[in-house]
């Protein structure tokens, strides 16, 4: 059984903490929102972001190291010729499988594959999120000479 004192204390506590709560939430109405208006305001992506890959097709020697280390086998490489004269015909990354673990960047002898800052890739079908980086007709790569729009952080470990 509650004594009258406890009962009144409960009522008072209820009222008091309600007003404490209001005194915290109400001032926020007059503050600037914390959120970003995403498509217009792009969040600041650190240079270390492990987003979609950036692949420099001209540097690649088709050594297959990245495909070997990939834990999910999402990289498919095809090349014509051998060694120095190798010419990439296919460098496909299947983003339905990719873990974005950046392991593929590490063994690369020519440092031609990097993780980029792009974090959004959308498509209506699964085929649309399988990207062929060696497609010379509509390239997605930054060929040499062109400056990259951001600083590359190497994931390669010596």
């Amino acid at each position: 059984m509650l004594s009258f004192r406890q009962w009144a204390g409960n009522v008072w506590n209820g009222l008091k903490t309600t007003f404490t709560g209001l005194s915290i939430t109400v001032p926020y109405i007059f503050r600037k929102p914390y959120t970003l208006q995403y498509p217009e305001e792009v969040p600041e992506i650190p240079t270390t972001e492990r987003g979609l890959h950036n692949f420099e097709v001209d540097l690649c020697i088709a050594c297959d190291q990245c495909a070997k280390i990939c834990p999910v086998d999402c990289i498919a490489i095809e090349a014509e010729g051998k060694g120095k004269f190798a010419r990439m015909t296919k460098f496909e990354i299947d983003y339905t499988k990719c873990l974005f673990c950046a392991l593929c960047c590490e063994p690369c002898p020519t440092e031609c594959i990097h993780m980029g800052p792009t974090f959004d890739l959308v498509g209506y079908t699964r085929e649309e999120v399988i990207i062929n980086y060696a497609d010379r007709e509509n390239p997605r790569t930054f060929s040499d000479g062109e400056k990259l729009p951001y600083e590359i952080v190497s994931f390669a470990r010596k």
Partner: protein, 366 residues
Amino acid sequence: MILAEVVPLSAKLAVLMADFVGASPIWIFHAIGSLIVAVGVLALVVTPVGLGGVYLERKLAGRMQNRSGPNRVGPYGLLQTLADGVKLLAKEDIAQEGADLPLFRMAPYIVFLAAFAGFVVLPFAPGVIAADLDVGIFYFLALIGLETIGIVMAGWSSNNKWSLLGSMREVAQVVSYELPLGISAMVPVIAAGTMSVYGITEAQSGHIFNWFLLKDGYWAIVMIPSFLVFYVSSLAAAKRAPFDLPEAESELVAGFHTEYSGMRFGMFFLPEYAVMLSLSGITTALFLGGWHDPFGMSGEGGTFHNVWWWGLIWFFLKATILFLSQILLRWTLPRLRVDQVMYLCYKVLLPISMVCLVVAAAMRLI
């Protein structure tokens, strides 16, 4: 009374139509006239109340939570709720297998009807009232009970156990909040000596110390507690947090309207705001002086005595402040548990309101 001077709009319309068409029984035109007025009122009151209320709630909730709230559709996101309404209209109306179809389909209309019929007895301004019933408060409380019937129907007929639990909770909540709500509403009735909401408002004519909340200073000892009791019970009546148990999202998925989609869901959603506003309105009329301004300008001999637009401004100002306070509370407090709602209503609100009632009666006698 001023009301007598205002010929009901439907009667005017009926006379016009009768003149235009000629021979036909006049009651048909009266019926059509009332229908037109009803539709007009729904379009003019429902739309702004529902849409504006939803917008206000979402914007305020957003700002309280350090977000920006709706801001995409229209300037400052003002058309967001309209867009949502269009979306609801375009959606498929799904009734699930095993649902009790007649009840399932009827339930939203009952809730909708009950929510908007409450506006009938609200005295918005001098002379602006749809029907000045002698038992206005009684009628209003009865309508709030009627809304519950719709909710129970919805929960029962949905063939969903979560909905069933939701409507069970609603019933449990109704029986507990209705007592303090009704009893605390009796205190202004005692002070005014009438049950007509219009009459109660008129009895508060004058400046701020004529309002029932602070009537003559000493009445405040009963009026302020009963105002708080009425306000808290009205939160429960509007099913707002911390009393949103029937639709408790994290517990019962969506409570009684889990199975509703499309416009039928909208018919549960929009009346919530109508109920909020009508409850704020009745609180204003009972305790906060209705349409009277605090400076006594609308009182006897004041500048704005019986000026309808002046009254309208003050009525809506007060009602909106109460409306906003409901929103602020909702986004601040956690939810109560079922038994705690009953504890609050039976053991806290009910004793307070009863003491207030007895003291008020005694003060009236003295």
